[in-house]
Point group: C2
Chain length 133, copies 2
Amino acid sequence: MQRYFTITQLTQEFDVTTRTLRFYEAQGLVTPTRRGRQRLYTPGDRTRIKLILRGKRLGFSLNEIKEMIEMYGSSPGESGQLRLLLDKIAARRSELAEKQRDIELTLLELDEVEAGAMVRMSELAGRTRAEEA
Amino acid sequence: MQRYFTITQLTQEFDVTTRTLRFYEAQGLVTPTRRGRQRLYTPGDRTRIKLILRGKRLGFSLNEIKEMIEMYGSSPGESGQLRLLLDKIAARRSELAEKQRDIELTLLELDEVEAGAMVRMSELAGRTRAEEA
DNA sequence: AGATGAGTTGACTTTAACGTAAAAACACTG
DNA sequence: CAGTGTTTTTACGTTAAAGTCAACTCATCT
């Protein structure tokens, strides 16, 4: 049961460079503790990195990702801030829903392209058999 | 029934700048015809622009998008090329599937954040009623 | 003819997200 | 204790995807 991860452990696990992790730190996306100069990443830091990379795969910018991550930790005491938080959540949800639709459409189009390719494939096979005969 | 779109029509419809559309053209992503110097976009060009923007929303780079768009138009006559095409399709599909999973996870987390916020909200409401009494 | 407005080209600038290289600090290993 | 490997800081470079600005063309309106 390991309490801390070194930077290289994480770069290997997530296939990123140290430069990348330090950059994320400079942007305030993670804040590993230090033993002397050395960075020590907690399991919590590791989770945040996972969130960051997931956000990137979905095409969010680091700034957007930062906002989302901050939503996770925040528990605003004031009702106005709570409303703002709920609004942000709703906004993100509809963005994600749009991405879902985009994916569905793209998958459908891939189906069509593939179907076309299969047809061509069988045409080729037929021609080959004909030539063999 | 309009055969052509001007560049500004499309910038308004898709909320992009002319610079953007010209840039996409320079990258070979669209190739509007010309009347003199002026660009004329066909409905087909318009569709391609839609595809580009959809790709961007999903976090694909313009190069990746170009590859995908070229897949659509391609009908390779040779079986090796066909295999390559099918492989690319499969690769894209799994990428998209990963994005779908990423979205699901993110949505679940948003649910949690929202639930937390609702709890806080009702706490605040309770306190307010208590103070009124 | 002059002004107005849409469109074009070309060049330079910007921003995000890192890459790369240099120099120095530590930790161990023979 | 010299050498080796890992990590750190600092600083400059790079790439993708446009933004911005200037000068120009062309058609149209007055």
